[in-house]
């Protein structure tokens, strides 16, 4: 049986851990609030953009000849954009995304899958498993600006147009609420926007013409999708970490309770033994 001093030491170490997890939880809570705000303020833009593109493609009669719409006859190479966090300690947040990405790879056996990781976790995971990394974006610490998304979007668009990639998919965590993130997988390219329904306003004026506008809008649409996924992922990461740290704090508390009980028992046993020794000694002297 461990001595009282050993147990005491353990109690101290666990309560130190508890302090750390508690602090991490509070830090995550504050960061999450900011991240959620950023995410929500980005939503109107992407909503408006999608609306505008829909309206324009209706007008173009679904006959846009932009390269983004062109589905390849034979899909050989798929680029997979995987969005994770840079740091761990956030429960199953990253492993859920990575699992989904791995399933995706399994489903597409025989095709070449190249990875574009956003976040260190994804990069480490796929680099270790020998996947080809197109380019990595790590070390942002969850502070993404729209320019970062543009950089990713540009590379995605370029590789699709010059034939490097036949399809581009995006896998990320969507922020549902603090305690729940849902893994989303969507096809970025080729674009699937349904055209052909009646335009809302018949007498629209366009400057420059419809197809040119649409061509300007489409890359922006890709960038926004990527930006949105980055922000969702950051908010989700902090939410997941908050929950994970809350759980850790709670289990540390329970562990401390058990250890204290154990400590008291051990101390009591030691006292009893000592008393018995004294009594026995006194008895022997009689």
């Amino acid at each position: 049986m461990a001595s009282a001093r050993d147990i005491k030491r353990k109690i101290n170490s666990v309560s130190n851990t508890q302090k750390i997890t508690k602090t991490m939880k509070m830090v995550s809570a504050a960061k999450m609030r900011k991240a959620v705000e950023a995410m929500q303020s980005a939503r109107p833009y992407s909503a408006k953009l999608a609306e505008l593109i829909q309206e324009l493609s209706n007008r173009a009669g679904g006959s846009s000849d932009h390269a983004f719409f062109e589905a390849k006859e034979e899909v050989k190479t798929i680029y997979l954009v995987v969005v994770t966090s840079d740091k761990g300690l956030c429960g199953a947040f990253n492993s859920n995304v990575l699992k989904a990405a791995q399933n995706f790879v399994k489903e597409n056996k025989g095709k070449t899958i190249k990875i574009m990781p956003i976040g260190k976790r994804a990069f480490d995971f796929f680099a270790k498993r020998g996947f080809e990394i197109v380019e990595k974006w790590v070390g942002f610490g969850g502070k993404y600006t729209f320019n970062d998304a543009i950089n990713v979007g540009k590379l995605v668009a370029k590789s699709f147009i010059n034939g490097g990639a036949d399809e581009v998919h995006l896998i990320y965590n969507e922020f549902k609420s603090t305690s729940s993130q849902v893994v989303r997988s969507k096809k970025l390219l080729p674009l699937a926007i349904e055209g052909g329904s009646e335009p809302k306003y018949p007498d629209f004026e366009y400057e420059p013409d419809v197809s040119e506008l649409l061509n300007n809008l489409l890359p922006q649409f890709i960038n926004t999708s990527i930006f949105q996924s980055m922000l969702e992922s950051v908010a989700g990461e902090h939410g997941a970490r908050m929950v994970a740290m809350d759980n850790a704090t709670r289990s540390a508390g329970e562990m401390i309770k058990k250890l204290v009980l154990n400590y008291n028992k051990t101390r009591q046993a030691a006292i009893t033994t000592e008393l018995l020794d004294i009594v026995n000694g006194a008895e022997a002297l009689k």
């Binding site: 992407s46 600006t145 306003y201 629209f204 506008l213 930006f227």
Partner: protein, 130 residues
């Protein structure tokens, strides 16, 4: 006959304006234009410019980079890649971004990138001069 326009100005980072206004002025691919209530449906690509709008006697200025503007049903939607209120401009920050872009433009870059960087440069220039 409506007497107000509803203006919504969004950038990817935030929603800047969402209110009733009397008029909006900006510059698009086809030149500068003004919008008043009951404008016919219209959609244009924006070039970097100073977008101004008025509420009563007050006028507000926003610097926008390239983006899109759509007006229909007395609703104006502006989607700008970058947008900032003139009163919120942090001169030092914009100056350093401006300088960085200028030096990047002096280096060898592809035509495509040059066009894009020039548009960005215009945005910062406008921000600094207003």
């Amino acid at each position: 006959m409506a007497d107000k326009l509803f203006l919504e100005l969004v950038s990817p980072e935030k929603l800047l304006v969402s209110s009733d206004v009397d008029n909006v002025f900006a510059a698009g691919a086809g030149g500068a234009f003004g919008l008043y209530p009951d404008h016919s449906p219209f959609c244009t690509a924006l070039v970097p410019c100073v977008l101004t709008y008025a509420i009563g006697q007050e006028t507000y200025k926003v610097i926008v980079s390239k983006g899109f503007l759509e007006v229909a049903d007395n609703k104006v939607n502006v989607l700008a890649e970058k947008a900032v209120f003139v009163k919120d401009i942090d001169k030092a920050k914009y100056q350093s971004a401006f300088d960085a872009l200028t030096s990047e433009l002096n280096a060898e870059i592809s035509e495509e990138e040059r066009l894009e960087k020039e548009a960005d440069l215009k945005f910062y220039e406008l921000a600094l001069n207003n």
